[in-house]
C-alpha cells in the first residue's frame, strides 16, 4: 500500500527518513571535518578549528544524544522525566571512575591503587564498587548497565504502580536530587563535591593531546548517529506506535491488551542507557564530573532543548540541543546573569507560540511557501507530534495523485 523503499532493515530505516538522513549526513560530515581541520591545518590557518571549539562542539554532540534520549520517552511515550540528568551523570561517573584508575601512581599522592581523594580521606583500600573500573571494557559495560538498572528498578516501581503525569515528573526530579545529595557526601566514595577530575589518559592516549580530543569528538558524532538510528528504529516499529498510543490514550492501549508498564519500562531503560553513553563521552571531553551534573535544573534544561527543537521528531531534539546550548555558550559569556531568565522565557515562548518547536516552524513556513509556489516536496513536513515520517505523508499525497 505505502510507497516505502524496500530493502534490508537498515536500508529501510535510513532511506525512509529524509529529514533524519540529511541531519545524520551533516553530523557525519562535522564528525569528520572538524577533527580533520583541527589536526591537519596549523594554528593561524583560516581553516584551522581550535581545540577549544572542537571540545565545545563535542559537548553539543553529547547533549544532542541526551536530547534524543529525552525525546524518545517524552515525545513518543509522554513520560516527562525531569530527572534524566541522573542517567547522564551516572554514565559520566562510570567513565570518570575508569579515567581515575588510569591515573595510577601519577596522582599527587602517587598511590598506585587509590585515587587522590581517597588517600586524602585516609582510606586504605579501594571500595568494592571501584573494582573492575581499571578495565576499559568493564567501565563501558557499566556506562550502560548502571543507568539501565537504575531505570529498570525505578521504572518498574513507578510504572507498575501506575504513577503518571506530573507525579512521575516529581519523583524523577526527586530521584536526581537525592542522587546529587548522595554524591556530594565524601563517604560515598565518588570524590564528594569535587567529583572526579585531573584525568590523564584514556586507553593509553593523552587526554590533553589534540589527536585524542579529535578521536573523542568523532566518537561522539558516531554515538549520536547510532543513538538516533536506534531510537528511530524503535519509534518506526509497531512498538513505536504502541508508545504513541500510550501517550495519547493510555487506557485505550491497556484495553487493547497491551501491557503498558512493560512498554514504558523498555523505552525508559533504552533512553537511560543512551543518556549514560552521552555522559560517558561528555566527561573525558570536559575533563571533570561532579555532583552538580545531577542538579535538577540540568534535567529541566534538557526538556527545554527538546521543546525548542520540536517534541516527537528525534531530529528536532538534536537541533534544539545545539541551538539552546549555542545560545547558552554565547549568553553566559555576554550577559551571564540574564541566562536563566532567557531560558525560562524561551520555554514560555516555545510553549505558547511554537508548540512543535523550530522543526514545526520550518514545516509551517514550507507549507506556506508551497501553497503559494505550488508543487515540490520538502523533506521536512513532519513536525507533527505523532512522529511519523514525512515520507508517509509524501506517499499519501502520491497515492492521492495516482
Amino acid at each position: 500500500m505505502k510507497q516505502e523503499i524496500k530493502g534490508g532493515p537498515l536500508t529501510r530505516l535510513i532511506m525512509n527518513d529524509v529529514a533524519g538522513r540529511r541531519m545524520m549526513m551533516i553530523i557525519l560530515a562535522i564528525a569528520i571535518i572538524v577533527p580533520f581541520c583541527n589536526l591537519v591545518f596549523p594554528e593561524g590557518s583560516a581553516l584551522h578549528v581550535s581545540t577549544y571549539t572542537m571540545t565545545l562542539l563535542g559537548k553539543y554532540l553529547c547533549y544532542a544524544l541526551l536530547a534524543v534520549s529525552v525525546d524518545l520517552i517524552w515525545g513518543y511515550c509522554g513520560i516527562l522525566s525531569l530527572g534524566h540528568g541522573a542517567f547522564f551523570a551516572l554514565g559520566g561517573y562510570a567513565m570518570g571512575m575508569y579515567l581515575m584508575r588510569q591515573i595510577g601512581d601519577r596522582g599527587v599522592y602517587a598511590n598506585p591503587d587509590l585515587p587522590d581523594f581517597m588517600v586524602f580521606l585516609n582510606w586504605t583500600e579501594l571500595p568494592w564498587y571501584w573494582f573492575g573500573f581499571d578495565q576499559f571494557w568493564f567501565a563501558m559495560v557499566m556506562v550502560l548497565a548502571v543507568p539501565g538498572i537504575l531505570a529498570f528498578v525505578f521504572g518498574a516501581l513507578a510504572f507498575r504502580s501506575r504513577v503518571t503525569g506530573v507525579y512521575l515528573s516529581i519523583i524523577t526530579q526527586a530521584l536526581t536530587y537525592a542522587l546529587m545529595l548522595a554524591f556530594f557526601r565524601n563517604d560515598m566514595g565518588f570524590g564528594g563535591n569535587n567529583g572526579l577530575t585531573d584525568f590523564k589518559d584514556i586507553l593509553g592516549f593523552d587526554l590533553q593531546a589534540d589527536s585524542t580530543r579529535a578521536a573523542l569528538f568523532f566518537a561522539s558524532g558516531i554515538a549520536l548517529i547510532l543513538g538516533y538510528l536506534i531510537s528511530r528504529f524503535i519509534v518506526t516499529s509497531k512498538l513505536g506506535r504502541v508508545l504513541v498510543a500510550i501517550r495519547d490514550s493510555e487506557s485505550r492501549a491497556r484495553f487493547l491488551g497491551y501491557r503498558v508498564e512493560w512498554y514504558k519500562l523498555f523505552v525508559f531503560v533504552v533512553s537511560a542507557m543512551l543518556a549514560g553513553v552521552a555522559g560517558a563521552l561528555y566527561v573525558p571531553q570536559v575533563g571533570i564530573i561532579n555532583p552538580g551534573e545531577f542538579a535538577p535544573i540540568n534535567s529541566i534544561e534538557m526538556i527545554i532543548w527538546v521543546a525548542v527543537g520540536g517534541r516527537g521528531t528525534l531530529f528536532g531534539a538534536v537541533i534544539g540541543a545545539v541551538l539552546v546550548n549555542y545560545a547558552k555558550t554565547y549568553f553566559t559569556g555576554a550577559f551571564a546573569e540574564l541566562w536563566l531568565f532567557m531560558l525560562g522565557g524561551l520555554f514560555v515562548l516555545t510553549t505558547l507560540y511554537l508548540p512543535k518547536g523550530v522543526v514545526g516552524l520550518w514545516a509551517q513556513m514550507k507549507d506556506k511557501f508551497m501553497s503559494s509556489g505550488g508543487g515540490g516536496n520538502s523533506g521536512i513536513t513532519t513536525g507533527s507530534s505523532s512522529g511519523k515520517s514525512s515520507d508517509q505523508k509524501t506517499s499519501k499525497e502520491a497515492e492521492g495523485n495516482a
Binding site: S249, S251, R252, G257, W262
Partner: protein, 255 residues
C-alpha cells in the same frame, strides 16, 4: 426476574455475573448485581445516570476489583482475578463512552495495532505486516466504512467516524464478547441506524453488551433489554415488555 445465585443455570453463558458488589467510599455503585449473557446474544443495557452501567463494565474488564461476587467468562475464567490487558487478551473488547482512538496515528495504524496477537514488547519491536493482517484490516475497513480515510490521522475523523473506528479496533482484537458504551452518542440519526445495522451483523459472530440511552437505537437493535437501577437489575425482557414495567417507568422512562 431474579437470577440463579450459583452457577447452575442450564445453558452455557459467555458472561456470568452473580452477586457482584462494588462500593466507593460507602456508595454502592453495584449492589449484588446478577446478570448473564448467552453465547451469541446481543443485550442492551439501559438505566438512569449513576445506575452502575460504567462500573459494571469496569469490573468485567478488570479495571475495578469487585468487593464480592462472581464474574465468569465462558463459564470458566474468573475475570475478577485479571487486569485490563489480560481480560482484553482473553477475548473481551471494550469501547468507551467517549471515542478513544489514537488521534495522532492513521486509521490504518490504529487498526493494525488492534489486530489480535503480538502484544509483547519484543513482538511489537519485530512486527511485520503480513498479507493475512492486511486482509483482516481491509475486511474491517469495509465493515466500518472508512476505506477512503485509511491514511488520514484518526484525529481528523468526524465524531461518528471515530466511534466506528473504535468499533473496528474492537473487531481487530477478535473478541468473543464486546462491551460497548453509548455508541450512538453524538451520531446523526442516519449514522445511528447504520450503527444498529452493523451491530446486528456483528451479533452473528460475537456476543455484545450495549449500554445506550437512545431508545430509537435500542428499538433498532431488537434484542433483550436489561434495566439497571442503583447498582442492580430492575427489569429484564423485551423492549416492549420493559417499557410497560411500572417500576421502570417511575425511575427511568417516565422522567
Amino acid at each position: 426476574m431474579s437470577l440463579a445465585k450459583t452457577k447452575h443455570i442450564e445453558q452455557p453463558t459467555v458472561l456470568y455475573m452473580d452477586g457482584v458488589s462494588v462500593s466507593f467510599d460507602g456508595f454502592k455503585a453495584l449492589n449484588s448485581l446478577s446478570l448473564f449473557i448467552e453465547p451469541g446474544e446481543m443485550r442492551a443495557i439501559i438505566g438512569p445516570n449513576g445506575a452502575g452501567k460504567t462500573t459494571m463494565m469496569d469490573v468485567i474488564t478488570g479495571k475495578t476489583r469487585p468487593d464480592e461476587g462472581t464474574i465468569l467468562f465462558n463459564d470458566e475464567l474468573d475475570l475478577t482475578r485479571y487486569d485490563e490487558a489480560q481480560v482484553a487478551n482473553m477475548g473481551v473488547g471494550r469501547k468507551f463512552q467517549k471515542p478513544s482512538v489514537i488521534e495522532s496515528l492513521t486509521v490504518f495504524e490504529n487498526l493494525e495495532m488492534s489486530l489480535k496477537g503480538g502484544r509483547s514488547v519484543w513482538q511489537a519491536l519485530t512486527h511485520k505486516l503480513t498479507g493475512a493482517k492486511q486482509d483482516k484490516i481491509d475486511e474491517i475497513l469495509s465493515m466500518i466504512d472508512l476505506k477512503d480515510r485509511l491514511y488520514e490521522d484518526a484525529g481528523s475523523l468526524s465524531h461518528g467516524q471515530k466511534q466506528w473506528l473504535e468499533i473496528g479496533m474492537l473487531l481487530g482484537q477478535e473478541p468473543e464478547l464486546l462491551l460497548i458504551d453509548e455508541p450512538a452518542a453524538g451520531m446523526t440519526d442516519e449514522e445511528t441506524m447504520k450503527t444498529a445495522e452493523l451491530f446486528k451483523e456483528l451479533s452473528k459472530k460475537h456476543s455484545l453488551m450495549v449500554v445506550e440511552h437512545d431508545m430509537d437505537f435500542i428499538e433498532a437493535l431488537d434484542c433483550r433489554v436489561t434495566v439497571l437501577h442503583e447498582g442492580s437489575v430492575l427489569a429484564e425482557g423485551s423492549l416492549a415488555n420493559v417499557k410497560n414495567n411500572q417500576q421502570v417507568i417511575e425511575v427511568y422512562l417516565g422522567r
